[in-house]
Amino acid sequence: MVDKETKTTLNKTTGLPRKRFYRARAHSNPLSDSHFPIPLFPSQFDYSQHYPHFFPASSENASNKKIQFADIGCGFGGLLVSLSTLFPDTLMIGMEIRDKVTEYVKERILGLRATNPGQYQNVSVVRTNSMKYIPNYFEKGQLTKMFFLFPDPHFKEKNHRRRVISPHLLDEYAYALAVGGIIYTMTDVEELGEWMKGCLEDHPMFETLTEEELKADPVVKLLSSATEEGQKVARNGGQTFRAVYRRITPSQ
């Protein structure tokens, strides 16, 4: 029995989890049904477990807030952490399919809540396959922002149907987004960037934002600066491809 010094998975100074204990493969098969619990319908989702500050056990003071921002494939949670302080009254959630990475984000949020009392209560993470279960978590028109940052490119043509942005899946994202809600996508893979932009452009329920609108939106610059992937791309001097669209009522 080797006597190792207790390797805690949390950094002693910041109280935040150390990434190297949460290493995971970048890819996860979105088609396989890993067995994680999913709510049967949105009202079954346990808000008190994720946002105890807003939904204490005693239901008298329970808020009637609903999640409004969803980061699909939130990775290590960089964007969520930045958004949390920018929009302190908005509930937001990260959805991640990789087990270890979800655990990391959970620990990160708990650590931040502990070291910053009163803050980061509006953000949480859930391990799920958002390509199959978006309607289980969100009611029609519930979300006002959805993020798809640096998704898996699935290069082979036969795997294109596994891409998280596709003409069919956009139907479901349009369902979950309120009219006027914004969908933000970003990637460092040019072909994927064109694909995502093409899907959004062709979809009757989305319209592109104008340059002025993009400049005015404080979230836009976070897309590449706040996410771990975005920072990596910047370090390597790579280019990012962005497509930001608004959910509209389709013209009949």
Binding site: N29, L31, L40, P135, N136, P167, H168, D171, M205, Q252
Partner: protein
């Protein structure tokens, strides 16, 4: 491995084609002018109007079905019949001439099909969960296929769709899948460009959804959606709230036209359960359980016309392991729904059925069936329906082994 999980029909390196059995299906023309039964790759039609078996004519390159038929539906106007299945073909038939007016090829096996109320569109779902649509045009009462190439309309991401229904008004198309979901989508003016607007999801089932139907109501043009599931419930959907009754897995259900009665067929149950819906109170209750005595007949597929007071039922399977030659098809009918308050519906004897012995001969292939065959069929049916509706789960070790022996290469057609 991902492909295998999506397409359980092709699972296993060993060819399971010989063991592929298909439950028999039945469909009734809305004005009861004909009844069709599909068992395996065989499509059998009895024309009640002419009083004889119908001969189907198919002059296309890929004539008739070569593999198990998985869906047969009549259009509401009664002029069209669609058949589709494991041979990846969707065939559209004219019910006047019994000619195949068009064949559409699909990349994957087809699991469900439906014809739009006006007969202008045929929709079908493949094993990837994509619902495709083809356009028909009507000239002087006859229909023809505009283009054999189908366009993708909507999709249930990687779920196998078990049922497709158009709402009574034609405004919506409802699709149900094995992953417990029901999606109601707005039918657009140009379906070939895709049906992107989701009206709502009906969630709440905790098992596969096996069947859908609509209760029509003069007060509410859209009708009321009714669903049946493997979670042993069948009932009214009201987006989120569900009213239901509990029993074993529901294999099929059928709304009795011009009423709020639902006839429900349950796995291995020798009879029909009748539910009554109170649409204003949004409640569902048991009305009657009609048991079938005599032979071991547990229906797996139901059909009713919109005019006659007759519920058609079929129990059948395409192959009986052991007896490996023949298939079994047994067709029966139940009547008496109009006067449900006065008494139980009754099973018709063979000679009391419309079409009588001639119909049974055509649809069943034979007139008398031995009890032992029924019992064997019951068992085989249970397995077949399970395979169709329940997603097979592999243990982690099993998955790793399966990953090593990939089998998702395209087979020669």
């Amino acid at each position: 491995m991902a492909e295998a999980a999506d397409t359980p029909m092709e699972e296993g390196g060993e060819s399971t084609k010989e063991l592929e059995v298909a439950p028999a299906l039945i469909a009734v023309n809305p004005s009861q002018q004909s009844v069709v039964v599909a068992v395996g790759s065989d499509l059998r039609v009895y024309d009640l109007r002419e009083g004889c078996a119908a001969s189907l004519v198919d002059e296309s390159d890929k004539s008739f079905h070569k593999d198990s038929i998985r869906a047969i539906r009549y259009g509401v106007n009664g002029k069209l019949l669609v058949s589709a299945g494991d041979d990846k073909l969707v065939k559209i038939w004219s019910t006047d001439s019994w000619h195949c007016i068009g064949t559409v090829s699909c990349e994957k096996r087809v699991s469900a099909a439906a014809i739009s109320n006006d007969g202008h569109y045929v929709c079908f779902a493949d094993k990837f969960g994509v619902v495709w649509v083809v356009n028909l045009e009507e000239k002087d009462g006859t229909f023809s296929l505009v283009n054999e190439k189908a366009a993708p309309m909507l999709s249930h991401y990687c779920s196998i769709i078990t049922s497709l229904e158009f709402s009574p008004s034609g405004c919506y198309i409802v699709s149900a899948d094995r992953d417990y979901k029901i999606r109601v989508t707005v039918m657009p003016k140009r379906p070939l460009n895709g049906a992107h607007e989701i009206h709502c999801f009906c969630l709440g089932h905790s098992e596969f959804v096996s069947c859908l139907d609509f209760i029509s109501s003069p007060d509410f043009q859209e009708g009321y959606l009714v669903s049946g599931s493997g979670d042993s419930t069948a009932g009214l959907i009201d987006s989120i709230e569900r009213e239901e009754e509990q029993f074993c897995a529901v294999t099929d259900l059928c709304v009795v036209p011009n009423s709020t009665l639902i006839a429900v067929a349950i796995q291995s149950f020798k009879g029909i359960v009748l539910l009554s819906c109170n649409v204003s109170a949004k409640s569902v209750s048991f009305t009657k359980v009609v048991s079938i005595t005599g032979e071991t007949f547990s229906p797996t597929c139901l059909g009713m016309s919109s005019s006659e007071d007759l519920l058609w039922m079929v129990m059948g399977i395409s192959k009986l392991p052991g007896l490996d030659c023949s298939s079994l098809v047994r067709v029966r009918a139940m009547s008496g729904f109009k006067r449900i308050s006065e008494g139980e519906p009754i099973m018709l004897e063979d000679n009391e059925m419309p079409g009588g012995q001639k119909l049974l001969e055509k649809l069943q292939g034979s007139v008398s069936i031995e009890e032992s065959v029924y019992v064997a069929a019951s068992e085989a049916l249970k397995k077949a329906m399970s395979k169709l509706l329940i997603k097979k789960h592999y243990s982690v070790e099993n998955r790793e082994t399966r990953k090593r022996t990939r089998n998702d290469k395209k087979f020669k057609q």
